[in-house]
Symmetry: C2
Subunit: 317 residues, 2 copies
């Protein structure tokens, strides 16, 4: 049994690669700090990206939403004077409408997600990091911005000073997350190549979650979302720069230093290996860019084997 | 200034014919007794049919919804395990989502409808009969059924005993409806060829509304939705039979006898004229079937002229 922590696109790709090998033996704890309400609908962007990716219906062209999407709804919304800035596709909308209705009836986000996954034929377990609202607030020179406003409306153009995770102090870990992370059959924890600040940190800020990971004797392996001095996707590199860090996998390693036993970095960054090892973790150097399904599976296999090596149950790397 | 009372398809067609002549000088009070919540969305079937018809975007093939509709949302809802019995199209959905969000924010159905109409370029004023919930309950041999369950899920197959309009005693007339019906410039009231029991009666049951109409000295003209012994569309004829009435325009006239000054019936039913006049109202015999836009306009003109004749301001019929 392996637990992965994931945000959006990059995280979803590795989770997909892991799921190919592990099936039911994989649980993915997903960031919900980006969740927000739009047109009265509860939207969970990362949860949906992971779900659509594992269901094989993700829109690979956009990096969000569903493949073969149509836009009749959005066009009519604008025609009726409504907002068009957040692009809701017709198929995608089914998830939001059904989820919103069930949340309003008092159902848990965890159970709703589980039902959707079963309907979509997903074997792995996709778990929201919490059933309670935790909302990422981006601290900027222009003041605090709700995440979607920063990300979609402002296109990450405003320089970032830091992040707050509103509601995290009051939130509770779900019994499902606690069972998975605390389970006797847990073999490894894999932190997917998601943005450390806005995708992984919100998960780690769920009360007791980081402590629970730290207390487990199983290997914790992270995959760096940085290749060279750029992020594969999204604002991670830009944020690093604005926060005053060197843009490199070494900064990712430093960010996770007390948490992980090993980090997977790209072959491009092989020269960083000694410096990262000096932080007290093992380093695995492989190609990490996932262009194809084969790439996802290969990287997933690397992570599992790397964890085995760290645990002393596999061949040396 | 003319006020029309309307339900769904037949009512919307005549309203459209009247709007062609009257533009801003027409207000249409529309039945909201069929409104219901589905997937957490507030749906106003009659309001939408009237709005879409006057905007020229009604789906003439189905009799409900928007033309050039797509169904990606509904297919995905079913794929995710949701209900498919109520057919929500992608374009149509924009109305429901925007309206629901605004209602939840505390806005009035009247203002929301007014905004939509402006966006859709509708000159006439479309007014929900009330901003408060009034729900048509169909009393049947199998017990009371909410209207949409009777109409859509059961396809009107259950015999009808009667109707209740839940919430009507507590509802209030809106200031807009009161101003239109009470206005000094009001010249006539036209009851469109909608189902008398489930489209027009709910409007007449809004507290004070029928009394306000009766107190006005302006002509009140109804158009019969029955031609021969059949309804042009919908369950009106079936209901008449089940309620023990003769299926004919005479029953429609009898239903409205204390309210209307005149009724428009189809040429097919010319022989009923003396019997209906005996009920104490004027009768106008013309073709009432509206197949084309020209038919709608012609019937609209007939209604306006008939009202003028009754008021003594027009030439004799």
């Amino acid at each position: 049994m392996i637990v992965a922590l994931a945000g959006g696109v990059g995280g979803a790709k590795l989770a997909d690669g892991l799921a190919y090998r592990l099936g039911h033996d994989l649980s993915i704890i997903v960031n919900t700090g980006d969740d927000f309400e739009h047109l009265g609908l509860h939207i969970s962007p990362d949860l949906d990206t992971v779900m659509y990716t594992l269901a094989g219906i993700a829109n690979s062209a956009t990096g969000w939403g569903v493949a073969d999407e149509s836009w009749s709804f959005l066009k009519q919304v604008v025609h009726l004077g409504g907002p068009g800035w957040f692009r809701l596709g017709d198929r995608d909308l089914a998830t939001h409408v059904l989820r919103t209705e069930r949340l309003r009836r008092g159902e848990r986000l965890t159970s709703i997600t589980d039902d959707f996954c079963r309907q979509l034929g997903i074997a792995a377990q996709i778990l929201p990091m919490s059933d309670e609202p935790i909302r990422t607030i981006v601290e900027t020179a222009e003041g605090p911005l709700p995440f979607q406003e920063y990300f979609v409306a402002r296109r990450c153009a405003v320089p970032v000073w830091g992040f707050r995770f509103e509601g995290s102090a009051q939130a509770q870990m779900t019994s499902e997350v606690r069972e998975r992370l605390g389970g006797a059959d847990l073999e490894a924890i894999i932190i997917c190549p998601s943005n450390p600040y806005i995708s992984v940190d919100p998960i780690l800020r769920v009360p007791d979650l980081r402590q629970l990971i730290e207390a487990r004797p199983v290997p914790v392996v992270a995959v760096s979302p940085i290749i060279g001095n750029a992020a594969v996707k999204g604002p991670a590199a830009k944020m690093m720069r604005e926060l005053g860090f060197e843009v490199s996998s070494r900064s990712v390693a430093a960010h996770y230093r007390d948490l992980v036993d090993g980090i997977v970095i790209d072959v491009t960054d092989a020269a960083l290996k000694p410096a990262i090892e000096a932080l007290g973790m093992k380093v695995c150097v492989v190609p990490t860019l996932m262009r194809s399904a084969d790439d996802r599976r290969a990287l997933g296999d690397v992570c599992i084997e790397f964890a085995n090596v760290i645990a002393g149950t596999g061949p040396p790397a």
